[in-house]
């Protein structure tokens, strides 16, 4: 089955991101295709490489980045939601004249059309949120 996954909540604050990750891992193990993971609302905060969780805790961003590398996943962060919350890639940094960017490896910033496209293309679009 072709799956789209939507993450609507921030890391650590809410379990939605963990559940979405576990769902993605389980789906891939079962041989399903993960077409895209889309990060929206505070979910965009999963994409900052600047998070520094305690060493004895899971590293939510790294976990996503590693999963993306291993399975060639498309991790997409909504640009409008990202801008509001200070999640920037190099392009956005330049466009808005900021002194830094923080997007993590494996994530890319794009528009909401990517969410709608996932809805059209996938057999199931699964939301993880509050």
């Amino acid at each position: 089955m072709k799956l789209g996954i939507v993450v609507l909540e921030g890391p650590y604050q809410h379990e939605a991101s963990d559940t979405a990750y576990n769902f993605a891992v389980a789906a891939l193990e079962k041989g399903h295709e993960v077409f895209r993971v889309f990060f929206y609302h505070d979910g965009v905060n999963n994409a900052t490489r600047l998070m520094v969780p305690p060493q004895d805790d899971r590293h939510i961003q790294k976990r996503w980045s590693e999963l993306a590398e291993k399975h060639n996943l498309d991790l997409v962060v909504c640009v409008a939601a990202a801008q509001r919350r200070g999640i920037l890639d190099e392009d956005e940094q330049g466009r808005h004249g900021k002194d830094a960017n923080n997007i993590a490896p494996g994530f890319r910033i794009s528009g909401l059309g990517q969410l709608i496209e996932a809805g059209i293309q996938c057999d199931r679009l699964v939301f993880f949120g509050d």
Binding site: A81, L112, F127, G129, D130
Partner: protein, 135 residues
Amino acid sequence: MSDVKKFLYVNRKPPHGTIYALESLEVVLIGAAFEQDVALAFLDDGVFQLVKGWNTEELGSKNFQPAYTALGDYDIQKVYVEKESLEERGLSEDDLLEMTYEDEDDDWAEKSSIRIVSREEMAQIMRDSDVILSF
């Protein structure tokens, strides 16, 4: 299989206090360009999004209520509001915004987009949808 899917945007949260309602609306507006069969559902505290007469001045946030009344211009013709959710909150259809669309099959007559449905009907609407976007 047809290229057009039935999209249902489910709105369950109040308009203020969190950003869910505003960002949900942003998805609806972008999604309208994709020529899918789109419907909106309002239930639980989400029905407060459609209660007319917002004043956000003292909240210091943008009043985005006019965007709801503009949804007809985006060809959104089906807005389902759950009857039980209204009643549980002491609300009725009279408290809601006017939301209209122009029916191209009826000489562009202006018609109300709002359809009050029971909880049971809402469940069926969800079952009949291909893609449910839950905010």
